[in-house]
Subunit: 342 residues, 2 copies
DNA sequence: TTGTATGCGTTATCAG
DNA sequence: CTGATAACGCATACAA
């Protein structure tokens, strides 16, 4: 077993300066009521001796970990990395640490992760739900002990937890409307499980836009999968076989849209003349495919910042978290070549 | 200030069962020397009472955190997310937690992150260096206290720290050779700072391949930047102005290669006939651009697994980490349309 | 302004 | 097999 070397404690510093540990503690924590000179001396010797505060002892004593737990479906999406970068910035500034884990889209791992988070006594939890999560019993530990939980993006309606998201319904409505304005009449939608608000809302927005324009919301035009690259390819093959083919495709994420589009392109379909395309998320790849993909842009970075900020404000100022029921961030429609018909 | 509710401790369990806390602790930790019956009773009531071990107290006592620190340049690259996913799998299985942070390619943040990691008493550190890190004084705390540090991908030569990486030299050599085999004679290279082994080695491999084939390694053919998407575009504009233009471009990562290629394509340059392209990393976008990008594939997931495994084995079995100087993983050349000439 | 004393929840040592 | 007790390092109420 690996054995770390001895640590330097506030007692060592106190001994060296003929002071009490209490005074050292107070100085190191910038507490009021310490003589400026002694404080200076303490801070200096602390540095000189290579002192570093032991977080465990401090946490044990204060019952706060200064750590925030983050659970996301996957780390490796552009959107989520942006979210996390935003969270990290805010957390860092406020002296909070982030423990991050991914559920890999399964409720099972999400449960296990939340247990770990709880054991590590995170001060709060920021979570975006897995693909198949259908209840939040695994968060009961947090809720019953008043440890704040905030949902972002893939949210869950709960009495005491704020939600942070965008208006997925409106975004989908607008993008579908845009396709209709381009003259499209048979618009297919590639979506995912209705369990997740983001996908349910995008579908609802799509459907409403069709109905408002007097277009039928034909079930044949609806494709449900997991929105992965592979699923996008399969959707493309499926679409090629449809009779008649749709004249537009609106996919609930860009990766899926792009991979679907590639299949159609390779089959000789003209984009956007024969089939127009729109996605969701503004993944960098949307600007690599040709023609570039029309999509909905929303700032993950800001979502991360906001989520972390709300949580930390609550932890440090005890504003009432329940007052904030949900927080809706801005999005914008980015119209590009994949959907504009001369 | 937010106040969490009271916790259930081993004393509560002990009191309820008329036992001592010691016995409860032993049972809950599966230690030998406890009557099977009492143990069973203890485990059951623990669950019934909703007990959950307090990691701080345990860590304070044992001087081990069961936490591994991970510092990467950025989380939002396909490669790094894969690495982290691999680490998380191994860590999870061994009951270790991961604290993850990103340096955002600056040494400054890397220093601050490593300090946080140290304060949180991580049992070990897995790190891939930032773009401009030119020394590792900030890891001195770890090294002097025998806290194991393992470098991966962006490594650093150090007496006591193992390195995990691929043979960047050979990969670059092979891919350059491939371009030469396709008849290319003026091969440009887009690389990054020589501070980082990965880029220095890729450049060296490229150069050696040229020399071995009797081609001049012309300095005009070398473009140094930060390999970002934007840098790729700028490189593309630069290349368009070169007299004569190179007939191939080998970029040290895919994102840069792809964005450079897009600029050339839009200027009417035929790929690969006029300019052949090769990248590095096998980013998913390499299969989105047309023609698809020739690149070097290496498994980030496995690199993460290996790094975590070596660290945890050392932590739990105290095998001598110094014996492992470096560990070189496999890579493969993926030849695609961007480089194959009729 | 500083010091004393105590407890946070565990685990480890020793004794029974 | 079980119990009593002492740390681990820090922060705080209270005393000086």
């Amino acid at each position: 077993m690996h054995k770390p070397a001895k640590e330097i404690t506030i007692y060592d510093i106190a001994a060296k300066l003929n002071l009490s540990a209490a005074t050292v503690s107070r100085s190191l924590n910038d507490m009021p009521g310490v003589n400026a000179k002694t404080k200076k001396k303490i801070v200096e010797t602390a540095r000189a001796m290579g002192y570093s505060s032991n977080a465990f002892a401090s946490n044990l004593r204060t019952k706060r970990s200064n750590t925030i737990g983050v659970i996301v479906p996957r780390l490796n999406s552009t959107f989520m990395s942006d979210v996390i970068a935003g969270m990290e910035k805010i957390a860092n500034e406020a002296n909070y640490n982030l423990i991050i884990s991914q559920s890999l889209e399964t409720m099972k791992k999400e449960i296990s992760n939340s247990k770990t988070m709880y054991n590590n006594r995170v001060d709060g939890l920021l979570i975006s739900l897995a693909y198949d999560t259908d209840n939040i019993d695994h968060l009961e530990n947090f809720l019953s002990r008043n440890i704040p939980v905030i949902f972002f993006d893939r949210i869950y309606e709960h009495r005491t937890c704020p939600n942070i998201h965008i208006d997925n319904f409106k975004a989908a409505y607008d993008i579908t409307r845009h396709l209709i304005d381009q003259g499209c009449k048979r618009i297919a939608h590639i979506g995912a499980t209705g369990l997740r608000n983001v996908y349910a809302e995008r579908y609802n927005g799509y459907k409403k836009a069709l109905l408002d324009s007097g277009l039928p919301a034909d079930d044949d035009l609806l494709i449900i999968n997991d929105l992965s690259a592979k699923a996008g390819q399969e959707a493309g093959e499926h679409i090629l076989k449809m009779q008649p083919m749709p004249d537009a495709v609106f996919a609930a994420n860009d990766i899926c849209a792009i991979n679907c589009m590639l299949v159609l392109k390779r089959a000789g379909i003209k984009i956007p003349e024969q089939v127009a395309f729109a996605g969701f998320n503004n993944d960098p790849a949307a600007c690599i495919i040709e023609p570039n993909l029309t999509t909905v842009n929303y700032k993950g970075y800001e979502m991360g910042e906001v989520a972390a900020k709300i949580l930390i404000d609550h932890l440090t100022q005890n504003d009432n978290l329940r007052l904030t029921h949900s927080l809706i961030l801005r999005h914008e429609l980015l119209v590009r070549g994949s959907s504009v018909r001369g």
